[in-house]
């Protein structure tokens, strides 16, 4: 499990503008960095659970024709 560094306003700003296409003001980026860092830290705790052989709860179902087609 790679160690994640603390999320900064600069990273938030860059990801929002360059990856997501939703540019943020500096003020918003600052606020989101703090909140998101807390969320990511919570998610890191899940990584410590016995998940090695556990598949995500996402099941693909081949699409069949709808009944009214």
């Amino acid at each position: 499990m790679g160690k994640r560094s603390q999320l900064t306003a600069e990273t938030v700003s860059a990801v929002a503008a360059q990856n997501a296409g939703h540019p943020l003001t500096a003020e918003r980026a600052e606020g989101y960095a703090t909140v998101m860092d807390g969320i990511l830290q919570q998610l890191e705790t899940i990584r410590a659970l016995p998940l090695k052989d556990v598949e995500p709860a996402v099941v693909f179902q081949p699409v069949e024709a709808a009944r009214d087609d």
């Binding site: 939703h22 969320i39 990511l40 998610l43 659970l49 996402v58």
Partner: protein, 468 residues
């Protein structure tokens, strides 16, 4: 003379069957309450009085002609403003969809209309169902009929305020992290979140596809069973809704719970709830024991991680749904919802998938517990309704975020998709309603509802109404 707006669905159905009240009289009685009290609660965001009166006249004639469609025929309902309603604006409580008028009904809306129910209008919601308090909506905050300075809980805030305030006998809601059960608990109502997929979500604005559920906020478990029976079953459009038989739920509510084993999970559900809430819920559990159930102390490993996983679900899926709108109309969202949506841009796909792996793990742990007991009982929510505008709440001497405290007991059953019911079970020291939650095995709504029905057969908390 009986005030018809005080009656529950089953009593109204009996009145119609006995010809002591007609659909027109019933609809008029509730519309009068809407006119009198909606401004205080901000529950309805659209009132369809004319079409409701027309539908009531039609129902009255059908019933008089011997063409009754069943117990729900001619009875009023309101729909959360997340449900598509043909020809009636469906905004999700947001300026983003202020002009959205669907050309078709949601499956649930259509099924309830087919059963003869009459919609009185649309009900306020936390914007796009993305919040547990009912405060953030383009229509303003919904107010709790027990104390209008307090939140109703959300996101099905208008549904709860309308039913608790006597403006409706029942309403639809949706539940992704607890959005049926939290407002039901805050407002002293019965709220049912069925098994994931039991009720099709077609035509309901999504918050989080993998956790969205549809269900009723009602005045009793029996009433919730009446609505579930009319709404459940595949519609061929919602891929999450399996083609399974739909039991006749009301007929299965015998009130006999002798021999049922009810698991009590202290960790997280009880030990992180306000003491005033736990005291009331302990008394409710004693009532179930008096009715013949057996309490068994059980543990659900890893339950404390549920809120983190749920957060990843909301943040990832809701941002994907709103991606296009965030491009050019972000300023139309309320500030809280906009912030949550923009946070979603920062989540990695692997974080989302780790959270989905956690859901599988938690599902297995719940299944193990439910192989040793029939049901799980917890406090409905950990706190009582907080003042509108507050951000933190005292829980055993610790200031906690209201969002985390209110979601804690309901989210695990959205993550695992298990059916869960809240029933009012008394009042805390602050005079506000407290609720008991009963969760069960997948697709075993009948047992869950029967425990609620048994409890309500022995108590009258569900009959308490706020002062007018």
């Amino acid at each position: 003379m009986t005030d018809l707006s005080e009656l529950d669905l089953a009593e109204l159905a009996q009145a119609v069957a006995a010809k002591s009240a007609s659909p027109v009289e019933i609809v008029d009685a509730f519309l009068a309450r809407v006119e009198q009290d909606n401004e205080r609660f901000n529950a309805f965001v659209a009132i369809t009085a004319d079409s409701a009166r027309d539908a009531a006249k039609k129902a009255e004639k059908e019933i008089a002609d011997g063409r009754s469609r069943g117990a729900l025929h001619g009875l009023p309902i309101g729909h959360k403003d997340l449900y598509a309603t043909k020809g009636v604006a469906t905004t999700g409580g947001s300026r983003v969809l202020a002009d959205n008028v669907p050309d078709a009904d949601a499956t649930v809306v259509a099924r309830l209309e087919e059963a003869g129910m009459i919609s009185l209008g649309k009900l306020n919601t936390h914007e796009f169902a993305y919040g547990p308090t009912g405060e953030q909506s383009s229509f303003g905050p919904t107010r709790n009929p027990w104390d209008t300075a307090r939140i109703t809980g959300g996101s099905s805030s208008g549904s709860a305020a309308a039913v608790a305030g006597g403006l409706l006998p029942v309403a639809t809601g949706s539940d992704t992290g607890g959005s049926i059960r939290m407002p039901a608990a805050c407002c002293g109502l019965t709220g049912l979140k069925p098994t994931y997929g039991r009720v099709p979500r077609t035509g309901i604005l999504p918050l989080c596809w993998s956790m969205d559920h549809s269900g009723p906020l009602a005045r009793s478990a029996y009433d919730a069973a009446l609505i579930l029976a009319a709404c459940a079953g595949a519609d061929g459009k919602d891929a999450a809704a399996p083609d399974r038989p739909v039991p006749d739920y009301p007929s299965l509510l015998t009130g006999d719970i002798r021999g049922l084993k009810i698991g009590v999970v202290r960790d997280t559900f009880f030990d992180k709830a306000q003491a005033q809430v736990v005291t009331v819920v302990e008394h409710a559990l004693e009532v179930l024991v008096d009715r013949g159930a057996q309490l068994v102390e059980v543990e659900v490993p890893h339950i404390a991680y549920a809120s983190a996983a749920a957060l990843a679900m909301y943040v990832a899926e809701s941002t994907a749904y709103h991606d296009d709108t965030l491009d050019d109309r972000a300023d139309l969202y309320t500030e809280q919802v906009r912030a949550f949506l923009e946070l979603g841009d920062q989540l990695l796909a692997k974080d989302y998938l780790h959270a989905q792996r956690f859901r599988t793990l938690l599902g297995h742990e719940m299944a193990k517990v439910l192989s040793t007991v029939d049901l799980i009982a917890t406090p409905g929510i950990a706190i009582t309704a907080t003042p509108i505008g507050d951000e933190t709440v005292d829980v055993r001497g610790e200031d906690q975020s209201i969002f985390s405290a209110i979601l804690r007991n309901t989210e695990p059953f959205d993550l695992t998709g298990l059916p869960a019911l809240v029933v009012p079970c008394g009042f805390a020291e602050d005079g506000l309603p407290v609720s008991l939650q009963i969760a069960g095995r997948p697709f075993d709504e009948a047992t869950v509802l029967n425990v609620g029905h048994a409890y309500q057969g022995a108590t009258d908390w569900h009959r308490k109404r706020p002062a007018g």
